[in-house]
Amino acid sequence: MVPVDTLTNATIQHLTLTYGALFFSVVTAIPLAILSLFSKRLSNAVLTLANLLQAIPSFAVVAIVVPLLGIGFTPAVIAIVVRALLPIIKNTYIGLKDIDASAVSSARGLGLTEWQIIRYIRLPHSYPAMFAGMKFAAILANSIAILTAIIGSGGLGSVIFSGLSNLNTDKIIAGSLPTIGIAIFIDVSFTLLERVITPRTHS
């Protein structure tokens, strides 16, 4: 059996890692997506990079972080952010961009500034795509946060890996089940959140 407080601590650590990384991903990705609206070169670079990096196995990304940043909690967060960033940027950018041109020009005609157009027209329009990207990123973060235990992030992954080292089935199950619960929680909560935030405009 795994002591309850060990498991509780590991779960808290796992959640901190997952949601911390998700937070940093969101606050980096959304400004980057907005900035990409202003520069064709930036948007090309960002989207190409996003597409390329998405094809690379997470394990490779987590491993490569080690020679660059060492091991521990912070490198783990960074590894997760690198992967979780991409779906948010990509989806947000597409959401911002994929809007009726006439809506934008009529807003301009009403006298809205470029910034106001983004704030009041483009951004609300991008919410559904943005939230889909965030949901995907959160599920990805939850998944990679287990893996990063191998580079010393702690969390539920540590429980799993220590179970793996002596094939202790109890530990493996005790470490895995909460991550599955968290995954389903993320799926459900984001679906609900999506409905609350975009009730009228996209019903």
């Binding site: 390329l52 196995p57 997470s58 490779a60 491993a63 080690v66 580079i151 179970g163 991550t179």
Partner: protein
């Protein structure tokens, strides 16, 4: 020691040629099986809207389960090594392939189906000659998504003694050997990119052919 020598060192000591072969073997088996199963599932459910909805909802939930969690949970059933790795890859890959097959088969223009019926094609002939060929670009898209999943899972297989390129990555991290990590990490990344771009090219070709702008 210059860079080439260091790369060659890692390559030989970590037996990367053999690891790559293991890696690609698992990858190919998983992707082929997942494609066959996924397409068959898509074909079976394409006329059963209810079944399809339930099935895809269940698979959607399965898809959110962290890869590593599924991988280790299969250990008590399948033991260590290649078997759970391949099975996990297949479980993740069936959804995108089956869903895209389903969408492709069901979204064929109604007019085409009507004409096929009017010409006297039977249901199975319509499936083989009209629906399936027209769904190919979408099916290829699904296989491409599955390819990326499979590459990721197979790499994780190194952690449960499946061999492949995940194994030297783990060794590198445990020994804190930067050379091993960088050489193997970049090689895995490169391999993934190459396979993904080949799949992308095939997908694009199929799309273009359907549009007729060849």
């Amino acid at each position: 020691m210059n860079i080439i020598d260091r790369i060659m060192d890692v390559w030989e000591l970590q037996q990367l040629t053999q690891r790559t072969v293991e890696h690609l073997t698992m990858f190919a088996i998983a992707l082929v099986v997942a494609s066959i199963v996924g397409i068959i599932v898509g074909v079976i459910v394409y006329r059963r809207f209810r079944v399809a909805t339930v099935l895809f909802n269940v698979l959607n939930i399965a898809e959110t389960i962290p890869t590593l969690a599924l991988l280790v949970l299969l250990l008590p059933l399948l033991g260590l090594g290649m078997k759970p790795t391949i099975v996990t890859s297949i479980i993740y890959s069936i959804l995108p392939i089956a869903r895209n097959t389903y969408t492709g088969l069901t979204s064929v223009d109604k007019e085409h189906i009507l004409v096929a019926e009017a010409l006297g094609l039977s249901d199975s002939e319509i499936l083989r000659k009209v629906r399936f060929p027209l769904a190919l670009p979408l099916i290829a898209g699904g296989i491409r998504i599955a390819l990326v999943f499979t590459m990721g899972v197979v790499t994780l297989g190194g952690l449960i003694a499946a061999g492949g390129l995940g194994a030297p990555l783990q060794t590198g991290i445990q020994l804190y050997d930067k050379d091993i990590i960088i050489v193997t990490g970049l090689w895995v990344g490169l391999l993934a990119l190459i396979l993904d771009s080949v799949a992308g090219m095939i997908e694009h070709r199929l799309e273009v052919n359907r549009d007729g702008t060849r």
